[in-house]
Amino acid sequence: MAERELLYYKKFYEEPLVLDKPIPDKMGKDMYFCFGCRTKHCRYICPVYKELRNESYIAYGRHNALLSVAKGLEDLRNLANTMTYCLECNACELRCPNTLFTADFYRYGTTPTDFTRKIRRDLLAQGVKPDGWEEVEKYIAEHMGYFEGPHEEITKWAQGLKLPTSGKTVLFVDYWTAFNATDIARLVAKILAAARVKIAIIDHPGVTNGELLDSDLKKWLEHGKHTIDALKAAGAETVIVINPHEYSYFVRQYPKYLGTLPFEVVFVTDYVNDLVKKGAITFKNSVNMVATYHDPCALNKFCDVWESPRELIKAIPGIEFLDEDHVSQWDYCCGNGTATFRKIHPDIAYRIGRSRLERALDLEAGNLIVSCPHCQDQFLEVKDKSRLPIEIKHIWEVVAEAMGIEK
């Protein structure tokens, strides 16, 4: 992963684009390398395009938009809203012919997600806000409030679990999970305890969400550094990450800017799957359901993690598993996106989520198993609104039931 990150790390993205000033040459060339293709394999794979059928919003359209600024046709300010129509799901980066065929020997790939984040940040820094950005600001402020608040509030999710604040193996629980997916965090802690894994938690992480990454890189990295320091201070040798979004930041973003991390980072499905393989976890209950699995973008499309959730599901007795392979799922998304999308475009997010649930129903699955708390939150909302006949289950709910662990 680290090697790939360096291959795709464009330091010149850190040079801000300035309103009414020429677009730097390197940036212009970067845009041309996307424009030059024009076969737009990034189009049919884009979940937003599938709903809106407007190619202005696909990776090609967004690169082309900045190229039109570089060529003096367009004003940079006018790109603000267009840049919000990206889920940051990374399908386009994976499907780009540059990525697939030539990036390795050219030492150059197309990086639409990093590009979109950069344009958003550069415009925000100069006071150009897209429509609906207030919802994003509100969300960041909420998490900043947690960060500035007392320890007890932050670790309230773990009440009664008697988790120490130092140890070699640390479970990293971000603010979203701690406050909005409390049950999932508690289940993971109980599952690990049942497998006799001694885990610790840190009582005061920084703000790690993608909304801040989309808004202010410097501040996001300051918080990232704070989090890494806190984990190190807690004695972490292994950090188990519970939220796929945060996992992608730990493995793809922090090392890029902050260097090699002083501990190993593991996603929780990988960790638990190893415990199952070693026999430290056994499934004593049958979980009778017909289910398919949804690959979260942050795991499948950013980090290439897709095997362990499937292996876990297959290991649980009673599940009739209707698998849809992870490459077919490159063009799926729950509709939340990995940062700001759902907050700005809730209606489009709903349509994307609904389309995904319909794909699961095409397989005649009665249950959709997820491994991301954001996917769970989004799908539950879509299910309520659409009344589609499918149940949304978090993988830890299913694993806990099979192990006989109560919520």
Binding site: R38, N54, S68, V69, D362
Partner: protein, 506 residues
Amino acid sequence: MQSTVQLGEMLKEVVDVVGEENVLTDMHQRAVRASVAAPFPLHKWEEHVPDAVVLPRTTDEVARIVKLANKYRVPLVPRAGASGLCDGAVPLKKGIVVDTKRMNEILEIDEANMCATVQPGVQPVEFNRILRPLGLFWPDDPVSYYCCTIGGRIGTGGWSDLAGYGHVPELIRSMQVVLPTGEVITASHGGGRKLAKSSVGFRTRDLFIGNQGTLGIVTEAVVELYPRPEAQWPCIFGFPSFEAALRNADRMGKTGLKSLASMTLFDEIKVEGLRRDDPAYIIQPESVRSVNYFACFGPEAEVRAAQDILFRMCEEDGGVYFGQEISEGDWACRHERYHNTFHSRTSGGLVKPGKWHCEDAAIPFSAVREVFDRWHAIAKKYTDRYGDIFDDYGGITYPNNPFRPWGSYICEIDIMIDESKFDEKIWQEWLNLKREIAEVAVDVGGSISACHGGTRPGDVEVACHKELAEGQFDLMKKIKKMLDPNNIMNPGKYCLDEAYLAENEE
């Protein structure tokens, strides 16, 4: 052509038809719809940026937009997947781009009559996803498979890699077309919309295939469906010379094998080019100088029988099998590599930016070798002069004859270009290169395009004034003027403005 006032007035009425969210006027949203996949003169980008973009959903909306365009005399440019290589969707006179991608409904799948009714914005990749569980198959297989739409394939009269299933003209039963004056008609064989053949009336259907949006906008099509093939088997054989591969292709085509769905030949320069960066070719012995590449689709029993015949005949002709892994891998990524911006290496193996652009032509089989020799000589002239901008990546040829892989071939020469270095001088040189290539095709009794379309900048004049000089172009002009009295529909394409100039001169 149109004034800002006219345009503004028209757009107000267009908003009434399709709603504000379906009319795009931001510069960057218009600019992205100025180019297609063909080499583009970025230094003249502004000249091709449309004044507005409309995304209709229904035939009625399209018809009302077309009527408004006539009322205000504003050009309309139909746009589908925009993956074409002949600039059909590039606005030459600005105006309004009618982007048909939102017309993406599959209206009916008629399993009894083996056809489906679709809107033009349906993409083959999406269509086949729906058809697969039904055991059905839409076989149109262009390199742009993942990004084209069925409407665009009709508009350009597309060619398919799976020629054994027919090309686009053989895959369309009928269409609903909005004419340039806004009337909606059915273009078909006879009267029925689902018929594959009738002896009644003119063949109106054919008029609306491949006209590059100059005669109307297709808003629905009834398309052929095939049973999904039980077996698919690609295989590549290396040959000691292009002549040997051609002999083999000719013999193979005449076997009458029904499952022989696709056949592709690479000439010596193409194989040499692939040796620069393609692992499948780097490992081949020097004795491999040309390639013949087959794909058999059909019932398993037939494909198995075809395998035996293919192996025997290729061996007889000096062919060497590349093996299953390379054959299947190459086939699986046949839609992927063509337009990559970073697809170039110098003959010394150094990487350099550059993408392939291929010029195609329909050529009688007996002239294929001669055409490639002459094309490579032309390419050399330009690569000697502009080695850092143009490069010759060799020739490819395939049988062009649908269902009958013999007699008529399509030839393509891949020119590697570094488009980012285009200025006006180089752009004009590029057009000259294309013109010379087209003239060779016409000279041997061929057509300047069997696949991409004939309205390419640089060589469109060769098509209209030399290739179609036996009255065909004169008839085209008469038809254009009759159907499009105000020259609304994609003006400037196919030299058809000449139809209106002639009237003024009279």
